[in-house]
């Protein structure tokens, strides 16, 4: 008797949370989905449009924006993995060997991610300004002064560097936590058997960090796909220069709020549904692959 009744009442306790979740997550997602199947006159719903809005996303002029933007999202992801997360791991390993001031150093590394990305972006545009910025004044004697954010070649790598500067503390904290969970006996045993510290890291530490890496990879993927504030602050809504920093978030912003198109609501809803499905689907896939390996 007890088990069945308890299970029934435990479902009862889920109802308040479920109601809030439905009202603030499920309902908006669902309305977004329905919006994408109608044509719009401003905020006035017009006729049923079928998949016209989705076909619009694939039309020549729109696709010419969508594909590069998506490509830049992937480049950001690759850059984040390569630069930010590698550095994060290096910092975590280095910090695990520090005896004094470890907490203070961790806090310092993590500090920039408490600041809004818009503010970070604004600060870096000032630092990197080709006319007044201190970075170029320092680099000029070395002959390395460049319009970092104004040249399509360097703009996206610069965005990756700034993202890293802001977020490196995050993978560092996750890796630190995972490192402290590895029993020191493993390393000691290996050393007794004659393994060098590089071998210990490569053969013992790294394999045991795989679950943490999977988490970091998935969070980086979601972060890179949904990025908006930083790129907006650095390159404006068109992803200057010449669309070199354009990403899906900016494309959505332009389509929804800045196009002046009468059917902006329909097209942007379709784009939002595409983005959600794409990010959700890829994340699931990534999760499955990474967890299986881990």
């Amino acid at each position: 008797m007890a088990l069945g009744a308890r299970r029934g009442s435990s479902y009862l306790f889920l109802i308040p949370a479920l109601l809030l979740y439905s009202a603030f997550v499920v309902y908006p997602l669902f309305t977004g989905l329905t919006y994408s199947f109608f044509s719009w006159k401003g905020t006035l719903r017009d006729g049923f449009a079928g998949v016209d809005n989705y076909a619009g996303l694939l039309s020549g002029t729109f696709l010419d924006q969508l594909l590069p933007a998506l490509g830049h999202n992937f480049l950001l992801f690759a850059g984040t993995m390569l630069v930010q997360n590698t550095l994060g791991l290096a910092f975590a390993v280095a910090l695990s060997r520090v005896r004094r001031g470890k907490r203070a150093l961790q806090t310092m590394f993590a500090l920039p991610y408490l600041v809004n990305p818009l503010v970070i972006g604004y600060l870096w545009t000032l630092l990197l300004s080709p006319t007044f910025g201190p970075v170029n004044s320092l680099l000029k004697p070395l002959g390395l002064a460049m319009p970092w954010l104004g040249d399509p070649q360097t703009a996206l790598p610069t965005v990756i560097v700034i993202t890293t500067w802001q977020w490196v503390g995050f993978p560092m904290l996750l890796f630190s936590a995972a490192l402290s969970g590895i029993p020191p006996e493993y390393g000691e045993a290996a050393r007794t058997d004659g393994a060098g510290s590089w071998q210990v890291f490569w053969r013992i530490t790294l394999p045991l960090l795989k679950p943490a890496m999977a988490t970091v990879t998935i969070l980086s993927f979601i972060g890179s796909m949904g990025t908006f504030a930083l790129v907006y602050a650095l390159g404006g809504s068109n992803g200057a220069p010449a669309g070199a920093t354009d990403v899906l978030g900016l494309l959505f912003y332009r389509t929804a709020f800045a196009s002046g198109d009468v059917n902006a609501l329909g097209t942007s809803s379709a784009l939002a549904v595409f983005m959600f499905t794409f990010i959700f689907g890829s994340t699931l896939l990534l999760e499955r692959v990474l967890r299986r390996k881990a």
């Binding site: 006159k41 924006q65 300004s129 080709p130 006319t131 390159g235 220069p241 198109d261």
Partner: protein, 410 residues
């Protein structure tokens, strides 16, 4: 005893208060107006109307100038919380509100002043499909070159009369260590503006634009290509790495006295007057290689009436005042921008100078007439011009991209 009197007085006051306010509210009609820009300007201008119409209380609310305003307004007008009147964007960005039926069409019977407005100015407040007017235009912006009189005098220069003179002056300034033109190409919305300042005369102004609209000509026409190619020709006189310089960087170059000229909109005059008080400002229209230059201009926005307003008669009467010369003068002198109301002469001498030039050599700013489509042709062309400045494509290719984008909706 005294305490009782105080209590009685307090009761009397509190008892009085609500009835007094209800009476005032019953007598007075409050018209709410939404817009962007400094709220103090609205309060100052509308106080005049309140003086003339004691029964009306105009309550102005200003939102940020950014795109948030469009979202706030379209949401407000869709529900019941919208204003009685609102500032509307010009041209293409007005159409979603028109097609959703959120605005009251205005005719010359309700707003007599509209009949005198310039047809080109009114077009920016007109529905594309039904041809009806939905707003009383409030401002006209012109595009020209602002220059620093002291720097010009120090180099023995005067505003150039010919194209060769302009190039010679720019060369002299550059040799003297001054950036000739403060211009940044990183914020790409500035690119068509600057292209039109230097190129409109070369492609033949309104006549050419009309021919493109009638599909008789294409933007790939050699005259248009030569016009936008001015950006390439003048590149030596722009800041170094111009495509990486932001709009604010360019403003700082000019306001700090490091640059002598700033090609831009009339709104820059206000910015520079406030932020660079010691700079003496002048304006000129750059001459074209063929001779006289043209000054492009566009209607900035208009006052529209909410179709759901509960005070239709009062709102229309207010709209009629907004189309009057009284308001036009008030607007010009308060905001220091051209009023869209015809026949208003600005008090400010610099504005007066611009007004004279615009009357004689004015033309429509081409980009606003082609800002349709999704992505809008303006966005496509801005990006193309940026790539042109970066040396990745030629002026001809940039023009072709504009043609291609325009062909999706024209």
């Amino acid at each position: 005893m005294r305490l009782a009197a105080v209590v009685a007085l307090a009761i009397a006051v509190t008892a009085c208060a609500p009835s007094a306010t209800t009476r005032a509210a019953q007598d007075k009609v409050t018209l709410s107006v939404w817009g962007w820009g400094p709220e103090a300007n609205y309060d100052k201008m509308f106080a005049e109307y309140e003086k003339l119409n004691p029964g009306i209380d105009v309550d102005a609310r200003s939102f940020t100038t950014s795109t948030e305003y469009d979202t706030i307004l379209s949401t407000g007008l869709a529900g019941d919380s919208g204003p009685d009147l609102a500032w509307l964007r010009a041209g293409p960005q007005l159409q979603p509100l028109v097609e959703a039926g959120r605005l009251l069409p205005l005719d010359a019977e309700d707003v007599p002043g509209l009949a005198d407005f310039d047809a080109g100015v009114l077009r920016a407040a007109t529905g594309d499909k039904d041809g009806k007017v939905y707003g009383v235009p409030f401002a006209v912006q012109t595009l020209q070159v602002v220059y620093n009189k002291k720097i010009f005098a120090a180099h023995g220069l005067t505003p150039p009369k010919t194209y060769d003179e302009m190039i010679a002056a720019a060369g002299k300034l550059k040799a003297g260590g001054v950036v000739p033109f403060a211009f940044g190409g990183k914020d790409d919305w500035m690119l068509p503006i600057v292209a039109s300042i230097f190129g409109t005369a070369q492609w033949g102004g309104d006549e050419f634009i009309a021919a493109v609209k009638a599909k008789e000509k294409k933007f790939a026409d050699p005259r248009f290509v030569a016009g936008i190619d001015q950006l390439n020709k003048l590149k030596p006189y722009f800041p170094e790495n111009v495509a990486g310089v932001s709009y604010t960087d360019a403003q700082i170059l000019f306001s700090s006295g490091k640059a002598a000229m700033f090609p831009g909109g009339l709104w820059e005059l206000n910015f520079f007057t406030e932020n660079a008080k010691d700079i003496e400002l002048g304006v000129f229209t750059p001459p074209a290689p063929e001779g006289q230059g043209l000054m492009p201009g566009f209607t900035d926005g208009s006052y529209g009436v909410n179709v759901k307003t509960r005070h239709k008669a009062e709102a229309l009467k207010f709209a009629a005042w907004l189309a009057s010369k009284d308001y036009g003068r008030l607007y010009t002198d308060t905001v220091r921008t051209f009023s869209a109301v015809p026949g208003v002469t600005p008090k400010d001498p610099l504005l007066g100078e611009v007004a004279t030039t615009f009357d004689q050599h004015g033309a429509a700013y081409f980009m606003n007439e082609f800002a349709y489509g999704n992505p809008s042709s303006a966005a496509v062309f801005s990006k193309a011009l940026q790539e042109m400045l970066l040396g990745r494509i030629t002026a001809g290719e940039a023009a072709q991209r504009l043609d291609q984008s325009v062909s999706t909706w024209l």
